[in-house]
Symmetry: C2
Subunit: 349 residues, 2 copies
DNA sequence: ATTAGCACTCAAGTTAGTAGAGTGCTAATT
DNA sequence: AATTAGCACTCTACTAACTTGAGTGCTAAT
């Protein structure tokens, strides 16, 4: 599907114009962009060809042309030149990450907010799902006379803690006994192995001590579970209302992306084929997402990660006409920075 | 401002109808609700009186009547009868709280989602800002050879932990030394006292040990800070688009409530005068909120809390025409349940 | 105090007409 | 063979005039 230079140029102009205005682009406008070196009649002929090839659409007979999703696809894959970020812009992104007071989930939540402002799109950020973590040790400390804090320390330095009510006397001996038993049982194990079944199987072997240990074991299970599941933060929903072409479908789109499981389905679709290396944004258009309600949108997906500890997703949802040449570099740089900042604050080893 | 029975009844009918339909209510409709025992002409006379008194408004000369905010005020304060929840309904709310696997912030986040579904409004839930917490002790554990976990245990059993990178050799002696020093310094103090200034003042006195302790101190400060600040979770923004009377202002409203500081301002307005006892919803209408952009909305505020550990806010944002008699009991029961569940999972002593 | 009756008002829908932006095609030009 | 001027044609968007009907306000009778 190779276009001659002029056709490609015309397609590029049409897409650029349409991204800016949201209005169908006329042959006259394009002719002017060529400084009238090519007449509008010629442009019309070329546009007719591009229409036959499927790269353009026409809202009605006497209207200008609009890019088709195939047109966008060609544009982002072959025609568009990514604008590199100015120093000023990279500095701006970096300055957002200078607020170090944030804990992990606030950082993700805030990143979503900032990205939705930059892109004027809806954003969905998922927190990292950590993989192949090994439990290094479990600390048990006394919180009050009825409660223990259980602290799970993993191979990558990720820790997780939870308070656990107990109904026995806490003293040095019991604490020490619990500490030994819990560490003998769990230390060295992978968090993935700590399933509900596993917890049940070891609890039933305990006989008398069952009620004694079972709340602690259950808390450990919950912590392992939560390390492996990711939260989703959605923001910038109203941005979708900015685009007239989405005004009727915006609320359906928002509903779809508000459902965690649907989002997971979309991300995991084989077709999307996300590369694991963070920062390389993948662009998908409505049809490619195989859902009638998403036909009008564009989805930009990027990842952030820390080497082999885990990855999280960045989703940008907007109309087809996005300023890709500017947005993609922004998003890619943003994901890279997020990875760096998280590496610094989470990865210990 | 006492209305005679019939006027009150007419106002009630008008508000009920308008809540259901969103359309101006005509004298004929009201007459029918009285089974035509009162003619539409009489109703018109009464409506003219109610209009003079400020309880009704008229979109245009030949249209029916619409409640004014003063009308709503009278309705919710004096006329409306709260519908008590059926057993089925209380069971339903309770069943949502049965999912105990959730940690604190997920519980708040999910509560917002559920409430936005029940109410068809936008919801904002704030996490609890804990007050008057005393630091009981601070545990320090080794996470890797370059990192320590610092665990803050407070008087109410609330704990908070953070990983802290250090650049010295961790061994039993250093750990023990740090433990003693940190606990001598912080144990028994109120978290409110641990300000940036306070940290600076004690750090500067340390001379040689300054670089040694300062990352640990800084992490302690951050944890104290975050215990006292609350996060805000907003959900159900699209619900505002369901109401035709809000369609032009919905995105402004969403923007206003997306700003944490503005929300805090609104909640703290003396006029709102929230009672601390959880579960008693306060209803405020547009004018009463003193912001031009909020003129068309209604805000229902409720609190959840745990005796004297802290309180969090539940905000429901919708149009003036909400089904108050049903919604208010729901919201109040929901806040009560949230308080109970949180008490169970957080309050230890 | 209530109500029947009627003139009046206004929003919303319908129809018809107009302007203009843009196309598609043909024939002339390069 | 590619380009272009020229023109008829199409379709949207806008405006103006008209119609309909829901609903009111007021008056006079009950």
């Amino acid at each position: 599907m190779k276009l001659d230079n002029r056709k490609a140029k015309i397609l590029e102009f049409i897409i650029d114009m349409y991204i800016k205005s949201g209005e169908p682009v006329s042959s006259k406008t394009i002719s002017e962009l060529f400084q009238n070196t090519i007449s509008s009649a010629t442009i019309r002929n070329e546009m007719a060809r591009l229409y036959e090839l499927g790269f353009l659409e026409q809202p009605h007979t006497s209207a200008g042309r609009v890019p088709s999703q195939l047109g966008y696809r060609l544009y982002v894959d072959q025609i568009m030149k990514k604008k590199s970020l100015s120093e000023e812009q990279t500095r701006q992104i970096e300055s957002w990450f200078n607020i170090r007071d944030l804990d992990y989930s606030s950082l993700i939540k805030n990143s979503g907010k900032i990205l939705s402002e930059i892109t004027s799109c809806m954003t969905i950020l998922s927190s990292m799902a950590f993989k192949s973590l090994i439990i290094t040790k479990i600390e048990i400390i006394e919180v009050s006379n009825m409660a223990l804090a259980v602290i799970l320390v993993t191979s990558s330095g990720i820790i997780k803690s939870k308070v656990c009510k107990v109904d026995f006397d806490i003293n040095f001996e019991t604490l020490d006994y619990i500490y030994r038993f819990v560490n003998n049982t769990f230390a060295g194990k992978s968090v993935e192995k700590i399933s509900k079944n596993y917890i049940n199987s070891i609890t039933t072997g305990l006989d008398n001590y069952q009620s004694f240990f079972s709340p602690i074991f259950y808390n450990i299970y919950e912590m392992c579970e939560s390390l492996q599941t990711s939260d989703f933060y959605i923001d910038g929903q109203i941005n979708l209302l900015l685009y007239k072409e989405l005004k009727d479908v915006a609320s359906d789109i928002i509903k779809i992306f508000s459902n965690k499981n649907t989002v997971i389905d979309i991300i995991n679709d084989k077709f999307i084929n996300l590369s694991d290396n963070c920062g390389a944004a993948v662009i998908k258009f409505g049809r490619e997402l195989k859902r009638a309600e998403l036909i009008d949108i564009c989805l930009i997906i990027s990842k952030y990660n820390i080497s082999n500890i885990g990855t999280g997703n960045i989703l940008i949802v907007g109309p087809g006409r996005l300023n890709y040449s500017v947005l993609v570099p922004w998003i890619e740089y943003f994901s890279k920075m997020l990875s760096v900042v998280l590496s610094e604050s989470l990865e210990i080893k």
